[in-house]
Symmetry: C2
Subunit: 338 residues, 2 copies
C-alpha cells in the first residue's frame, strides 16, 4: 500500500492539514515542525497522489496535444519543441493522433477533456468553423499551432509560420535569380489549408513582379513524394515550353519533382531550379542538396507551449496570431540565370 498523507501526519503527530501546508507551503508553519515533517516525508518517500490532488485543485499539470500524424517528422519536431518547454515547467504531455479527420479531432478533444488536461495544443489540417465552435465550448484553453483557423481571425490564439509570406519569399528568391517562367507544385486545395495559403504566396509574388500567371504551370495534390513526381510529370507532358524553376509546397514534393526531372533527363538545377519547403533534416542528404524554406516547427511548438502555459497560469491574454520566422536556405537546386 502506498504511503498517504495521513501516515505522515500520524508519524509526525500533527494533523493532515499541517502536512498539506508543509508540502504546498500554503500557510505558515513553524520551521521546527516543517523540518520534522519534511524529514518524515523524505524517509517514507511520500508523494501526494496526483489524482486526489487534481480532483480538488482542478489542475493536473497535463497538456494535451493533437496532431494529424505522429510519425511525420514535421510533427515530431513540433512535439519535441512542445515537450522541451512543458517538461521544464512541470507539465507532462498527452499526445494523440487524429489522422487529420475532423470527427476524430472532435472526439479527441473530448477524450483529453475527460483526462482533465489543463489545456490543448492543436495541430489540424483544416481548422474550420465547426472545429472552432467545438473548441470554444470546452472549459480548457486551446492554442492552434501549425495551422490557422479558417475564419474568425483573432478568436483563437495561434502560433504558425506565415505560409503566404514564406512562399512569397521563395518565389521572389527565384525571381531575383533571374527566373520568369516559374511553376508551382503544391499541397491540396482544401479551403483555408496551408496548401491554399502557399499558392497565394506564389501568386502574389508573380503579381508583384508583373509576371503573368500560367494555369498549366500550377499543380496541386497531396504533400507526398508521389504527388510531386506525378505533378511534375503531368506538367512536363502538357507544356511544350518548360518552366525554368519550380516552387513546391514541401520538401517531399520537391524531391518527387526532382526525381521525375532527373529520370526524364532534365538536369536540376542547370535546366530547372527547384525550391522546397520545410527543410527536413533529410534535405541536406538528398542529391542534389535541396534548396528550401526553413520552417522551425520546433520553435512553433516551444512558443505555443509557452503561450498555453501562460494562459493556464491565469495570465489574461487577448488571442492573436504569432508568426515564427522562416528563412530561405540556398543549397544546390537553384541556378542564377541572370
Amino acid at each position: 500500500m502506498a504511503v498517504t498523507i495521513a501516515d505522515i501526519a500520524r508519524e509526525a503527530g500533527v494533523s493532515i492539514a499541517t502536512v498539506s501546508r508543509v508540502i504546498n507551503n500554503t500557510k505558515p508553519v513553524s520551521s521546527d515542525l516543517k523540518n520534522r515533517v519534511f524529514d518524515i516525508i523524505e524517509k517514507n518517500n511520500f508523494k501526494p497522489n496526483e489524482l486526489a490532488r487534481g480532483l480538488i485543485t482542478k489542475k493536473t499539470n497535463i497538456i494535451g496535444v493533437i496532431v494529424p500524424d505522429i510519425s511525420n517528422s514535421v510533427f515530431g519536431a513540433l512535439i519535441k519543441g512542445i515537450n522541451i518547454v512543458c517538461s521544464k515547467k512541470g507539465y507532462t504531455l498527452m499526445v494523440t493522433e487524429s489522422g487529420g479527420d475532423i470527427n476524430n479531432e472532435i472526439k479527441l478533444l473530448d477524450v483529453l477533456a475527460d483526462k482533465k488536461i489543463d489545456g490543448i495544443l492543436f495541430a489540424g489540417i483544416n481548422v474550420n468553423h465547426k472545429l472552432i465552435t467545438e473548441m470554444q465550448t470546452k472549459d480548457y484553453p486551446v492554442i492552434l499551432v501549425t495551422q490557422e483557423a479558417s475564419d474568425g481571425e483573432g478568436i483563437m490564439d495561434t502560433v504558425v509560420h506565415d505560409n503566404i509570406k514564406a512562399v512569397y519569399d521563395a518565389t521572389k528568391f527565384l525571381i531575383d535569380n533571374g527566373h520568369k517562367r516559374i511553376a508551382y507544385i503544391g499541397g491540396p486545395k482544401i479551403d483555408y489549408s496551408s496548401g491554399k495559403k502557399r499558392l497565394k504566396g506564389y501568386k502574389l509574388a508573380l503579381e508583384d513582379a508583373k509576371i503573368k500567371l500560367i494555369d498549366s504551370l500550377i499543380e496541386q495534390g497531396e504533400f507526398s513524394f508521389q504527388a510531386g513526381y506525378l505533378g511534375m510529370k503531368k506538367m512536363y507532358e502538357e507544356n511544350s515550353v518548360l518552366p525554368t524553376a519550380v516552387v513546391t509546397g514541401s520538401d517531399i514534393i520537391a524531391m518527387g519533382v526532382i526525381q521525375f526531372l532527373t529520370g526524364a533527363g532534365v538536369n536540376v538545377p542547370d535546366d530547372i531550379s527547384v525550391i522546397g519547403f520545410d527543410d527536413l533534416e533529410f534535405s541536406t542528404y538528398f542529391k542534389p542538396e535541396l534548396s528550401t524554406v526553413r520552417i522551425s516547427y520546433f520553435d512553433e511548438g516551444a512558443i505555443a507551449a509557452n503561450e498555453l502555459i501562460k494562459i493556464i497560469d491565469g495570465e489574461n491574454i487577448t488571442p492573436q496570431t504569432h508568426y515564427v520566422p522562416h528563412k530561405i536556405i540556398r543549397r544546390s537546386t537553384i541556378k542564377n540565370i541572370n
Copy 2:
C-alpha cells in the same frame, strides 16, 4: 459547474450507487430504470470524472512512453504503432523524452508513476542493471521495446528486433553477392547497446563464411550522417586496399558513408556496395536508392502495446523477449560481383 453523478441520481430519483451500476454495468438493474438513467445521462451529457474514478479503481487508462528522442523518425514510427493499438483499446498515451540519459529516465519513471499511469513502454539506449532494478521497484508493469536489457535475460518482458541476426543476414547477403572484403561502420560501442549487438552479427557472419576479420575495416561511432561520413573517410585513408562492400549500423550512417565515397570519386555500387539498417521512409528517395535491412518500429510498438495491455488486464505472462522480423531490402547500392 460540471454535472456529477449525484445530479443524475437526483433527477432520476434513484441513489448514486444505482447510477454507477448503470454506467459500469456492474450489477443488475431493471431495464426500465436503466433506460431512464441512460436517457438522463445522455440529456445532461454526463461523463464520470476520471480523476475520481481513478482514485478509487486505481486505473487511469493512461500508458506512459519513454523514448530517447521524440523527433527521431524511428521513435516516431514506434509511437505511432503504440498509439494505434492503445487508442483502439481505450488508452491514452503520455509521451516523454529522456534524451537517452539514465538519470532522466529514472526521473521520468517517477514522473509517470505520479500520474498513476497503468503501465510503461520503455525505449532506452542502454538498459543497464541499475535501470532494471529501478523499474522493478515500481508498482506498474514496464515493457522494454527497441532495446533489450543488458543482463538479467528473462526478467523483463521485451519486444525488439533481433539485432544480431539482422546484421548477420545483411552481411551474409553481401557475402552471397560475392563480397569477401567487407567493412563495418556502426553505432557506438556502449555495452549491450544495439550498436554492439549489430557488430556481433557482422562478426558472426564473417566467421561462418570463414572470412578473416580485419580490424581496420571496423569503425564505430554515433548513429549519425556525420559519423558515417567520418568513419568512411578514416577507413579510406587508412587502408591501401578498400573493401568491396560495407555493412552499416543505420541508414543515416550509410548515407554519410555514400556521401563520402561519392565525393572521393568512388562509385556506389560499382566500386563499393553499401547496405543500411532501419529502412527509413527517406531511404527510397536517397540517390542511389539505399539497400537496407527493414525494421518495422511500427510493429514493435504495436506488439509491445498489446503485450502491456494484456499484463494490465491481469493476464499472467511470463517475461520473454519477442522478436519482430526484419527483411533485407535490395535497392541500388549493392552489386553482385560473383
